[in-house]
Amino acid sequence: MTTAVRVRGLTKRYGDVQAVGGIDLDINAGEVFAILGPNGAGKSTAVEIMEGYRTRDAGEVSVLGVDPGRPTREWRSRIGVVLQTADDVAEATVRETVRHFAGYYPNAKDPDEVIEQVGLTDKAGKRIRQLSGGQRRRVDVALGVIGSPELLFLDEPTTGFDPEARRQFWELIGDLAHQGTTIVLTTHYLDEAEALADRVAVVAQGRIVAEGDPTTLGGRATAKATVGWSEAGEHRSRETDTPTRTVLELAQQFDGEVPELTVTRPSLEDVYLRLIEAPS
């Protein structure tokens, strides 16, 4: 497997604040990688260094084999960047904007196909100012992918979305990932990371405190489970390392159906909150 992004010992300081305090990271080509962390944890700084927007104090960074500290036009045409907030080109229509940006790239996709892909075909003739927040964000994604990037950066892409818009957006990102685009996503929505990412890294106070598959992160899959049920009109629960045995015992006790049975492991949120509270 080839490496799309390789980071070693990355640091960045703003005055007295150590924004990034030594990050190592490997992101494989073709994977969806989510960087989680609270506001101010340093995730945006780290990503903006990878995108070539900011300089670093120390460390090695290689993105598609190029040092983003010295970005070239050729390299820029191989990556796509979807920034956190933008309200530019408000008076241009969706189609005009996507067509215009297509002209920047040597291997641009067909603008109408991209507009279709982000689900804005029926809004193509509308001015961007007239779009809703979610539609506006889709334009941002369209502009991010118009140049057929090998690597797409998405910085908190669904902030301010309603649940339905978020679902639709996830489908769009899933489609892009299926087509082989490497995606680096920052978010503070855990459900988003869980739905989209092959791997996640949790950043707290400028460092990576955990990294791995979102379903097993922080020992989630093997942590103590909580078995809950209802007995004599009262809710009962038991923490256990062996939930299957507990359920079997309960099944015997109730001779069949256990009323209101639930078996839960710590959610990604539980694990995450524990990780960012006590950074290692």
């Binding site: 703003y14 995108e51 070539g52 927007y53 900011r54 036009r73 050729e74 820029r76 045409s77 990556i79 960047v81 920034l83 907030t85 933008a86 309200d87 530019d88 080109v89 408000a90 008076e91 241009a92 005009e96 215009h100 940006f101 002209g103 920047y104 790239y105 040597p106 291997n107 001015r127 502009l143 140049g147």
Partner: protein, 279 residues
């Protein structure tokens, strides 16, 4: 042909679009967007026209011993203002682009940085040109302005216009880094522009200003642009109205040229692609 069939396939060449072509494409988009913001269009174009109509109507007297009238003086001065529109347009426009994410977005694309400026410059040149055409039309139609008939005079017009637009545009690009945000940009940049218009002979003839104000105005390009345009539209008869009884065209060229060079240096050393909050 058979020889071509045996040739090894050429390696894929990634051809980046040309910077000039992209600059033209930016100019087309900027101009399209400019004309869609109707309130801004109306303001930009009506401001000098309204001023010309007001001043031209209030001061309709003849200027003693020259055969010229005051309104002709205003046409020349307001054309100077129109050529300096770039200062205001770019100063405010780029501050807004920095604030609303345009610059940051462009920085993330393979667009050459020069193409952004080419686009902005052509857009400014076009808007200034439209303003000048409108002012000249009104001047000729309502205030008896005589268009010069000699080619050499038009050549003077062209170099004063081009140097003036370039110099003031570069100055505008440089000052665009001053406002703290896009919202404050119009206040921060419009104020010095209005002051400059009052002390550079656009509304009040330079001969009626105290010497120290003229000295301040002489540092900036607008005074010299107006002087150059007076030489074009008032002709030799008007030279007696100048402080030195001459249009000093050599000096006009020198100061405007210096602003082009100095403005470029200022832009190259102070231009910020990022907003203050972006670090």
């Amino acid at each position: 042909m058979s020889q071509t069939a045996t040739r090894a396939p050429a390696p894929p060449v990634v051809r980046q679009p040309s910077a000039i072509q992209l600059g033209l494409s930016r100019a087309a988009l900027e101009t399209k967007i400019f004309f869609r913001e109707r309130d801004a269009v109306i303001f930009t174009f009506s401001f000098p026209i309204v001023l010309l109509l007001i001043f031209g109507s209030i001061f309709a007297d003849d200027l003693e011993g020259t055969g010229l009238n005051v309104s002709q003086l205003y046409v020349a001065g307001l054309i100077g203002s129109a050529a300096m529109t770039g200062f205001q347009n770019l100063g405010i426009g780029i501050a807004m682009d920095r604030d609303d994410g345009t610059l940051k977005r462009l920085l993330g694309t393979p667009l050459p940085r020069s193409s952004y400026f080419v686009g902005r410059a052509l857009n400014t040149l076009f808007i200034s040109f439209c303003q000048v055409v409108i002012l000249l039309t009104i001047g000729v139609a309502l205030f008896g302005l005589q268009l010069p008939s000699e080619i050499s005079t038009w050549l003077t017009f062209v170099w004063v216009f081009v140097l003036g637009v370039l110099g003031s545009s570069l100055l505008g690009i440089a000052v665009s880094s001053l406002p703290r945000s896009g919202k404050s940009a119009s206040a921060v940049i419009a104020m010095p522009f209005v002051v400059l218009q009052f002390i550079s002979g656009v509304f009040i003839p330079v001969t009626q200003l105290p010497a120290w104000l003229v000295n301040i105005a002489s540092v900036f390009p607008l005074k010299w642009m107006c002087q150059g345009f007076r030489s074009v539209f008032l002709g030799d008869a008007g030279a007696t109205l100048e402080l030195t009884n001459s249009y000093e065209l050599g000096r006009v060229a020198l100061v405007l040229g210096a602003w082009v060079v100095g403005g470029l240096l200022l832009c190259l050393t102070t231009f910020r692609w990022k907003g203050r909050r972006d670090g």
